[in-house]
């Protein structure tokens, strides 16, 4: 159920976010150009694998979190909320995979 997915992706993201933060801090020292970023990511199998997992986990984790916020802080609880969040999840997945591929494929 949603709670299980939320906690499971949380564990995955704890790792992925730590790597992501460490990487961007390390890589971005002294400014960063597109060429420098792409030099690291293009053709990099580790990048592709890690970030596809990262994107998938986020696409699951974020909408479930938003669902709690909306249900608790507004009156929107109908099925239409779940539908909207499912759409948001798909949006994140599509945009995220596109971005990852954009940076992987030379």
């Amino acid at each position: 159920m949603l709670f299980v997915a939320q906690r499971a992706t949380a564990f995955v993201l704890a790792f992925a976010v730590a790597v992501h933060l460490a990487t961007i801090i390390y890589a971005e020292r002294g400014g960063l150009t597109a060429a420098e970023i792409l030099a690291r990511t293009q053709g990099n199998g580790w990048f592709l694998a890690l970030y596809l997992v990262f994107v998938t986990a986020v696409a699951i984790h974020a909408p479930i979190g938003l669902r709690n916020v909306v249900r608790e802080w507004s009156r929107w609880r109908a099925d239409s909320l779940d539908l909207a969040l499912a759409a948001f999840s798909i949006l994140l997945l599509i945009l995220g995979v596109t971005a990852t591929l954009a940076m992987f494929i030379p």
Partner: protein, 236 residues
């Protein structure tokens, strides 16, 4: 003299201010009783044992849910002189400082906070080692007297009226850990339903305010783990 603002009415109403003489070692219950007996007999409030055993006297004192019988005025306001007394948050107000407890206890039932025995009188006694981890987990929560302070403290109850709440879930956890009980699986399903244990966001106000030192947060965490174990197909 204490300036005591007291809620009068039901869901709609107003604060009425009374002046009450300050006395040494005075409790909030002393103050409320003074008002009702000496100044306004129409004030509605609850108490029973007046010694911290029954849980009847809980109300919101200066923004925090407390037992009035065990709360000294000096602890609440120090050298100040203003008290504000309101009915417990998250409960429907019956009148003035008295609230409707039905929903609160109904949720205990919804959470399967009821013991179901597997045994008959023909069976031998159940053996429950007091030092076993399960019994210790149960013991940590069985002193609950249903006062409602944790339920009043809980923001998730405010945000989601269906949320079972810390007391009901704490009770369910004590029974999950009771080896004599026979309805573990249905109970875990009951607390795993939406607005069950998964709705707890670990604010921990329940644990901070419980007058008996019970920590519903960790009971609810236990239920979350039990729910996950059951979802993943393992028993235990």
């Amino acid at each position: 003299m204490l300036q005591v603002e007291v809620w009068r009415g039901a869901e709609r109403g107003r604060f009425q201010t009374f002046q009450v003489a300050r006395r040494e070692h005075q409790t909030i219950l002393d103050v409320v009783t003074d008002i009702q007996r000496e100044q306004d007999p129409t004030l509605a409030y609850r108490f029973a044992c007046r010694v911290g055993m029954c849980g009847s006297c809980a109300m919101t004192v200066n923004g925090r849910p407390r037992w009035t019988c065990r709360t000294r005025v000096a602890v609440v306001i120090g050298s100040g002189d203003r008290l504000r007394l309101e009915p417990l948050r998250n409960f429907t107000v019956v009148k003035d400082l008295a609230v409707e407890m039905t929903d609160f206890f109904d949720k205990w039932r919804t959470a399967e906070g009821v013991f179901h025995s597997e045994r008959t009188r023909a069976d031998d006694f159940a053996v429950v080692p007091p030092a076993s981890p399960q019994r210790q987990a149960a013991d940590a929560g069985i002193e609950c007297i249903g006062c409602g302070v944790c339920y009043a403290a809980c923001d998730v109850v405010s945000w989601d009226r269906d949320y079972l709440g810390p007391a009901a879930l704490n009770r369910a956890w004590t029974l999950v850990n009771d080896v004599r009980d026979g309805r573990r699986a249905p109970r875990i399903r009951a607390v795993a339903a939406s607005s069950g244990c998964q709705a707890c966001h670990v604010h921990m106000s329940c644990t901070a305010f419980c007058p008996k030192g019970i920590a519903p947060t960790y009971a609810i965490a236990g239920l979350k783990r039990a729910m996950l174990a059951q979802a993943l197909g393992r028993s235990g």
